[in-house]
Symmetry: C2
Subunit: 423 residues, 2 copies
């Protein structure tokens, strides 16, 4: 019987253009999650461009500092994909044409109803001599597995769905086989969202709770997202009953600012509340330009509680579509409490909604004055035609971050007003 | 005089939670750009969590494989920021309280009109014994510079604006000083955007051009963004006159699909065209939920050519705000050519615009049928009340990617229709 190895720290090498980070990020997330669920630890990530010398250097570093190495990316058919070649060179082995791999690639094209397979896809059927081939159930490039300096090395395709599938179906079973059946050090992770509070306040208010949980082996991460602080807690699996206690304590500390768990977004929290109360909302947006509506409609099935958003970027449209009185615009300006109120009333009425939210502000970089600086945003929430509540915000940052914060703060304001109304 | 060093390959270590990739990414982009502009090369990036052992391992790897190392992140005031401590340990040096750093931190708080400085910010005034301190002109954490194993090592704060400022003002001058005045191997990079063409087509059609340019020392990267392929070309600075030739050739190959250069976005290309023709547009959105409007309003000063977007997510609002006839909705459904046409006409009229775009489709994951599958999107562009042009699209992917592709394809369709109209 093969001697069981100590396999704990797994290193990840992401190969690809330094310009193409989306895939890299997604794969780091995926690897981290799947490894953790199975009692392994993502130790270190290296990102390298499609350069043979750098790929080899990074893989050797990762072999030296970890117990196993996963490489993602650079297995495509195009000219800049050279991970296969790099690993063959590192191993001093040849690349061999695999009829089995080629058959699978041809099947994949047939399934996509593509008759003529580009000749260059034949490169994807080249497999490192002696390596184990992993079939690709989703895309064309097969994965590979070999050992180097006594440690397992995996070559996986870059596209995240293919990467994830092969991580679960091929990499994890092989790592578990090598480690032996007993699983140690399994961790579970849970996130807790706090909306609209600054990071330093969240940290201060949770200091005692965090210290207490750390004594039991918990590890905290604070994640500052736009208008949202997430506290992520990693616990040994046998301590996972502590999550409930932590959630109760955080709800108690933060009251209405406590949003939910495990990556609950601000729009999701609003949608939950609207559906629970059987209410339909409509937005009136100016400076956010449609972003608040976009964020709501990222949620499947949102039509149950979201009618639409009337994006009146010009004053002309504020008058035409929301019936904001000309006199209000003239007297107070487009960015004012009065305009926000009129917009919210218009959105509620013409958007045929039970409740509405209006957002009007100065996203910059120009257009600010001393009295109304860039970042000033007025919001209004109309619960009825008479009950309209307003709030003024000052956001800092670029045009894009001001828009993002304003959209999320607006959605959160509607949520808070609804929560308070109930009490 | 100090002997000049060969400083070419610069490695980057990004310290921070594996959950917080936005900052990491942005900093990799910034470092890559600034280094390249100054004749250095970003060689390898390592991402490590806030863990002392891993930080030290990664920095040592980067020292061994590069000529200089830049470390970003982990200089904040909070409990999980331990980059300072890690480097002090690696160097076997102490951290010393710097009155100068503390004065700067206090000034920063004063500028933000915050009177009481949290005690924990004092941690940010701790500087490694013997290190050179870089003042932080934007945030609170100072940067540091020291040498290890004869190579320069820089500690920079994680927030991208602070990182960028210190890269330009402190890191680059020091690297140039150490390299000596003569700049070698300076590269320049230019991007060329092709809208709405599949990656494989772009690759095939540019094969000859790319090969020709590679002979002159050019390096190509293909970047597949939503509905946009970017070809990035890196050239030795003395060959930069080739960019014009490449641009002309690409314009010639791709005609209306050629979008622009250096990261020109699809909304920017439309805005350029609308402003040039002195036209104002308005959108009617259904499945994209406001995303098309959001993308347009990311552009500063867009009010010159963009009035707003009427986001009618429900049929009720399509009738109410865009006057889509009830009979059309009943006979053809919300996702149909006829509804798209009525929406575009409504957006043009009630949105008080010269031209309009309407987008209606099925973003999924549910709501699809055999006749109208998830991903089907009908678009209409109204140039006048009589001249309305339509196009049907099928997009694949998740709800979120379908929305993104639909919004960009719609904006691009309006651009193309305007271009064709002129001819």
């Amino acid at each position: 019987m093969e001697k069981m190895k100590n396999i704990q720290r797994v290193n990840l090498v992401c190969v690809g253009s330094e310009l193409f980070f989306y895939v890299v990020n997604t794969n780091i997330h995926i690897a981290n999650k799947i490894l953790e669920e199975n009692g392994f630890e993502l130790n270190c990530n290296v990102i390298v461009p499609d350069d043979m010398g750098k790929i080899i250097d990074s893989v050797i570093f990762c072999i030296n500092t970890g117990d196993a190495v996963i490489i993602s990316g650079g297995l495509g058919p195009t000219f800049d994909d050279i991970t296969r070649e790099s690993m063959a060179k590192m191993l001093n082995k040849n690349l061999i044409f695999s009829q089995q791999a080629w058959n699978q690639i041809q099947e994949r094209f047939k399934a996509r109803k593509i008759d003529s397979i580009p000749e260059k896809n034949k490169r994807q059927a080249m497999v490192i001599e002696g390596a184990v081939m992993f079939p690709n159930e989703i895309g064309t490039a097969p994965g590979m597995f070999f050992e180097y300096m006594g440690k397992p090395v995996f070559l996986l395709p870059g596209p995240p769905v293919e990467f994830e599938n092969m991580m679960r179906k091929c990499v994890i079973p092989e790592l578990i086989r090598q480690r032996g059946s007993e699983i140690q050090n399994v961790f579970v992770r849970k996130g807790f969202g706090i909306a609209g509070e600054p990071e330093s306040i969240v940290e201060e208010k949770t200091e005692k709770l965090r210290k207490d949980i750390e004594f039991t082996g918990g590890v905290w991460t604070i994640l500052a997202l736009p208008y949202l602080i997430e506290l992520w807690l990693k616990l040994p699996v046998d301590k996972k009953n502590l999550f409930e206690e932590v959630e109760n304590e955080l709800r108690n500390i933060f009251q209405d600012s406590f949003l939910g768990t495990d990556g609950m977004t601000i729009p999701q929290a609003l949608a939950l509340l609207l559906n629970k109360r059987k209410l339909v909302c409509c937005f009136a947006e100016s400076c956010t330009g449609g972003l608040a509506g976009h964020l709501m409609t990222e949620i499947p099935g949102i039509s149950s509680c979201f009618n639409g958003s009337i994006v009146t970027y010009s004053n002309k449209l504020k008058k035409k579509l929301l019936k904001v009185p000309k006199t209000i615009l003239r007297k107070y300006g487009a960015v004012s409490e009065q305009t926000a109120i009129a917009m919210a009333k218009g959105a509620r009425k013409y958007g045929k909604a039970d409740v509405s939210l209006a957002i009007t502000g100065i996203a910059g970089p120009s257009g600010g004055t001393i009295e109304k600086p860039v970042g000033l945003v007025w919001m209004a929430v109309a619960l009825t035609n008479k009950n309209v509540q307003t709030k003024k915000f000052y956001f800092s940052g670029t045009r894009s971050t001001i828009k993002t914060r304003a959209a999320l703060a607006g959605i959160d304001l509607l949520r808070r007003v609804l929560l308070r109304e109930k009490k």
